[in-house]
């Protein structure tokens, strides 16, 4: 596929936002269960929510660049019964609204217990909105991932690994941002976020690696033989029917060399996984806040490369029909 930067930014930016929110809320849940003693003040979470919303909004803005007719974007909510894209369009604003409520609850300190679960768990509005937001957060990850994973002819995408990659990569980058953010605004949480970042990054690495290995072994289901229905081992297209290109030649192929593709793969492995792990461990050990910012920045840059590669690697069967001019 041709990697469109609108979609690359959309998916990576909301991934960061989603991951950051999960980091914030995870910390709170840990604290609720008193597994984690440290906890930032309301201001930390309120500002954190604003950052989450900022990333989500930026992603949303990016998505509009992908649309031919953005003024009609509202129509996209109508087909939630069948379309994962439609579902995403619904879930993203719901998630944003719930994060907004979560941030508001923090900002105004709405922590009066609403009810309790069992003996000890006092549930307040903050925890409730956070729980709702968490639900939408995962729903959003699933929708985004399924947009790609549901396309069965794009065999590289048609796997649960696509969803797990979106969750884990979004999570890793969000937790990395949380770590850096905490280093400035709530240093006592830095270690907690940092350790989770390490874990999620490792998990993401594993998941992404699994998908790379899987895709490497993929055999295209469609062949020129099935594309034109002629049984012969030697078939070559001579003319695709037009010479100056068309939507079909622009949208479905990255137009770059295989070596470029390989380079991008290694770049994203290094930037998304290897370097951030090293940087993180190092900056946690020397307690460097700016180093943590760098860690996030490097990982995000890696994610852009990863997402570019994600699109570029997907080999659309329609390309069988668009291979040669003469």
């Amino acid at each position: 596929m041709h990697p469109a930067f609108s979609v690359i930014f959309l998916t990576t930016l909301i991934g960061v936002g989603q991951g950051l929110f999960l980091a914030l809320y995870t910390g709170q849940v840990y604290a609720l269960f008193q597994v984690l003693s440290a906890q930032g003040d309301h201001r930390f979470y309120a500002v954190g929510s604003v950052i989450v919303l900022a990333f989500l909004a930026a992603g949303l803005v990016a998505s509009f660049f992908h649309l031919g007719r953005p003024e009609r974007a509202w129509r996209a909510a109508s087909q939630w019964r069948t379309s994962w894209l439609s579902r995403e369009v619904i879930v993203l604003p719901l998630f944003m609204a719930s994060v907004f409520m979560y941030g508001m609850a923090h900002y105004f300190g709405w922590n009066a217990p609403l009810f309790s679960l069992g003996e000890t768990l006092q549930i307040d509005l903050i925890m409730l909105t956070g729980a709702i937001a968490t639900f939408f957060c995962f729903a959003l990850f699933i929708c985004t991932g399924m947009i790609y994973a549901c396309l069965r002819f794009l065999q590289e995408w048609h796997t649960p690994l696509t969803v797990s990659n979106f969750i884990l990569l979004g999570g890793a980058s969000g937790f990395a941002l949380a770590t850096a953010y905490a280093a400035y605004a709530a240093p006592e949480l830095t270690g907690f976020y940092g350790k989770w970042t390490l874990i999620i990054t490792l998990l993401a690495f594993a998941s992404r690696l699994a998908s790379l290995v899987r895709n490497h072994k993929l055999k295209p289901k469609s062949t020129l033989q099935s594309a034109i229905g002629v049984r012969h081992t030697k078939i070559a297209q001579k003319a695709q029917g037009f010479m100056g290109g068309s939507f079909n030649t622009r949208e479905f192929f990255h137009g770059k060399s295989p070596s470029m593709l390989r380079s991008v793969k290694w770049i994203f492995i290094v930037l998304t996984f290897a370097l951030p792990l090293v940087f993180l461990a190092w900056s946690l050990s020397i307690n460097s806040a700016s180093m943590l910012v760098l860690t996030f920045a490097v990982q995000y840059a890696g994610l852009i490369a990863e997402r570019w590669f994600f699109f570029a690697q997907a080999n659309h069967p329609q390309n069988l029909y668009y291979q040669a001019i003469s």
Binding site: M1, H66, L67, G68, R69, P70, R72, A73, R75, A76, A77, S78, Q79, T82, S83, W84, L85, S86, V89, I147, C150, L151, R152, F153, L154, K221, S222, L224, S226, A227, I228, G229, V230, H232, K234, I235, A236, Q237, K238, A239, Q240, G241, F242, M243, G244, G245, S246, F247, N248, E251, F252, H316, P317, Q318, N319, Y321, Y322, S326
Partner: protein
């Protein structure tokens, strides 16, 4: 239930592109139009077409087959492009199975084209909406046209009548008979999209000459007394033995 479709006979398609440009001229000024063109007089001209004719070479010299292959929307019975559309702009008509795009609803997200394995949808880069073959829905039901002309433009134009049009669900229709009797097949059956459009393969006519067909009592050479007759003076048994 009706399912309208095209059946394309590769046995007679000579790759003339008549269907390509006739489709363009009908549709650019019709209900599905305009079909925009970019750089029409410049470098790398490109534009929206609903139908393309491609050329493939099969085999190696001298056993080469040149296959001309027209391709437009296949109007799948299970169209993967329809459910993914977030706005409902892409839809399959219940009454005749034609897959259409409602331009007024389309947001130009291109997702439907990603969901089509055949590469038959093209975004109009000017109007920014997805466009595709409509089976000339604005011709085939137009009571203002003579009945014989209520066919897709490509079908009317095709000089070799390589394009048949009709209801593939009606077993007696011309298209169903052609599919049944001439081994009609679907493209990329592996995806279960069940395309309505079918293709008919090349069929070869061979002629077998039996050796005895070259021997005839009425061979005109005989009349000219030219069927080989040995010379009297050539050696014969008479020269060799007396019994």
């Amino acid at each position: 239930m009706t399912q309208l479709a095209l059946v394309i006979d590769l046995n007679v398609c000579v790759g003339c592109h008549a269907c390509v440009t006739n489709c363009k001229e009908w549709n650019t000024s019709g209900m599905a139009g305009p079909l925009s063109d970019f750089n029409p007089y410049g470098a790398d001209p490109t534009g929206t077409f609903f139908n393309r004719v491609q050329t493939f070479e099969v085999g190696s010299f001298p056993n080469t087959e040149t296959v001309h292959f027209p391709k437009s929307c296949l109007h799948c019975e299970e169209p993967p492009c329809v459910p993914v559309c977030p706005t409902g702009a892409s839809y399959k008509r219940k009454e005749d199975g034609i897959v259409l795009v409602d331009y007024d609803k389309c947001i130009g997200c291109k997702y439907c084209s990603w969901a089509c394995p055949y590469g038959v949808r093209e975004i109009d880069e000017k109007q920014k909406v997805m466009k595709k073959c409509t089976l000339c829905v604005d011709r085939i039901y137009d009571q203002g046209l003579p009945e014989k002309e209520r066919k897709p433009a490509c079908v009317l134009a095709c000089p070799t009548s390589a394009r048949l049009f009709g209801d593939v669900h009606n077993p007696e229709s011309e298209v169903s008979v052609a599919i049944r009797e001439s081994n009609g097949y679907q493209l990329m059956p592996e995806w279960g999209t069940n395309p309505s459009n079918h293709y008919l393969p090349r069929r070869k006519t061979q002629l077998r000459i039996h050796d005895d067909q070259l021997v005839r009592a009425d061979n005109p050479l005989k009349k000219e007394r030219l069927l080989p007759k040995p010379d009297k003076n050539e050696p014969s048994l008479d020269d060799a033995i007396s019994w």
